[in-house]
């Protein structure tokens, strides 16, 4: 059973190097892979405040990713992360709405052909 554990494990960790400011943070996203990693990286890199964004999978047998964000102008790295997640949600919502609308349209079109 992947990811179904009795105990609640941590979902997100923040790792900062000693002396680094809050604009340079590595987030550890547990139970995630390229699926969220790459799509979130794309959204975060679209942000002007972000100087660098990248992720890596620590090891094939560990189900977590290191997600690195470095910002410009002292913006806390949590902000572009939060914004990226929100924007990705908006994208999904629009894709979902469009898909459902188009499928319904396709169905009614098919029925018209049948009649």
């Amino acid at each position: 059973m992947a990811g179904v554990d009795g105990e609640k494990k941590s979902v997100l960790e923040m790792v900062q190097a000693d002396g680094a400011d809050e604009g340079c943070v590595t987030f550890v996203l547990h139970e995630e892979d390229h699926t969220l990693g790459n799509s979130l990286r794309y959204m975060v890199m679209k942000n002007l405040d972000v100087d660098f964004c990248g992720y890596s999978i620590t090891h094939p047998s560990e189900s977590k990713i290191n997600f690195r964000i470095q910002t410009r102008g002292g913006v806390p790295a949590v902000e572009p992360l939060r914004r990226g997640l929100n924007e990705l949600t908006d994208v999904c919502q629009h894709v979902l709405n469009t898909f459902q609308r188009r499928v319904t349209e396709f169905r009614s079109q098919q029925e018209d052909v049948m009649d």
Partner: protein, 353 residues
């Protein structure tokens, strides 16, 4: 298609780098997405939802009970690929997880039979069930479907004397998936009265028996995802390809035109008669397999440009029959939203502390 071809011909160098993947003779150019802010002077590449919504498009090409083809245009590969990956590995289904073998005197070994049973697609809506908790051996009506396979092979008393055909000699000598019968737990018989729970396909051969051999098996189906085991994957295949774009850079006539046509998949290039001269023309580049055969002809390779449109994904989804393919895509999109929400919730809760 015509407008696209024209567009590529008149496209500026920068736009070509941004929007097309070029298939060269020895290499593939412009592989990566580069439209990030700061990369191109004069372009505003910061995220803009309105702009995305304006450019985004979905066209359903073909749809039936088990397969779906649609175009998703105006989205980055990172996100399109996330949908594809989720379809393969993270949309849940129900599958046989525990096999309780009370009797198996057939020639097929217990573990092989159990594996075969696991791979049978089970028709049951996974959205109506919960995941079973780790360590839970029993299972309840909210997380488990029970199936029973109880069958015994006997001689056929009505078989003709000198028959040698097993189909005539024996009864129940072929065990099919349709012999797996649903045994409702708790209130399931009422709740799923119309659901018709059982194998999607009744004609999957599970084992062969000879007279006297029997199977007595109870199976527990649980909810799971393809990441855990491929038997939970709801799709036979889920893939996308980028829309091919073939542009003729010069007029190709006569024998060369015929040869050019033969370099591509049927229907991609046709020859037209222009006042006694045959001229090649790109008719439908979508049909091309991008074989790059044309690049082996020295006199033709500079006459065409082979490319793919970076943000035009031709998705193909084939369901195993458990859920309709359009439902699968819908569920996949919802899974990605749930992932985002999980981390947004975590960010909110850590800020509270």
């Amino acid at each position: 298609m015509k407008t696209l071809a024209k567009m590529a011909a008149t496209m500026s160098n920068v736009d070509e780098i941004r929007n097309r993947v070029i298939l060269g003779e020895f290499d593939i150019k412009n592989v990566h997405t580069t439209d990030y802010p700061g990369n191109y002077p004069g372009y505003d590449d910061t995220w803009n939802l309105q702009k995305f919504q304006k450019n985004f498009r979905i066209d359903v090409v073909q749809m039936d009970e088990t397969s779906l083809e649609f175009d998703m245009v105006g989205i980055d590969a990172a996100i399109a690929n996330a949908f594809r990956r989720i379809l393969l590995a993270e949309v849940p289904t129900m599958a046989v997880e525990k096999v309780l073998i009370y009797n198996n005197t057939s020639i097929i070994q217990d573990e092989i039979l159990a594996h075969r049973l696991g791979l049978i697609p089970i028709k049951a809506d996974p959205r109506l069930f919960e995941y079973r908790n780790a360590g839970d051996e029993e299972g309840t009506e909210i997380d488990t479907i029970q199936l029973q396979l109880k069958i015994k092979c006997t001689r056929n008393p009505r078989a003709t004397k000198d028959s040698a055909d097993p189909r005539e000699l024996y009864l129940n000598h072929m065990v099919y998936s349709k012999d797996m019968k649903w045994a409702p737990i708790g209130n399931q018989a009422d709740v799923f009265a119309d659901a018709n729970i059982g194998p999607v396909h009744g004609d999957i051969l599970l084992a062969q028996l000879r007279p006297g051999q029997e199977l007595d098996i109870v199976m527990h189906c649980v909810k799971g995802i393809g990441q855990d085991h491929a038997k939970f994957s709801p799709v036979a295949t889920a893939s996308y390809r980028l829309l091919p774009e073939i542009t003729l850079m010069e007029t190709v006539e006569g024998e060369k035109a015929e040869r050019l046509k033969r370099c591509f998949s049927p229907g991609v290039i046709e020859v037209e008669n222009h006042g006694g001269k045959v001229v090649a023309k790109v008719v439908n580049s979508r049909l091309d397999t991008c074989s790059r055969e044309v690049l082996r002809h020295d006199d033709l390779k500079n006459a065409v440009k082979l490319a793919r449109v970076r943000d035009h994904f031709i998705f193909s989804v084939e369901s195993t029959g458990i859920l309709a393919p359009d439902v699968l895509v819908t569920e996949a999109i919802k899974v990605l939203m749930t992932k985002c929400q999980r981390f947004l919730n975590e960010l909110d809760s850590t800020e509270m502390e």
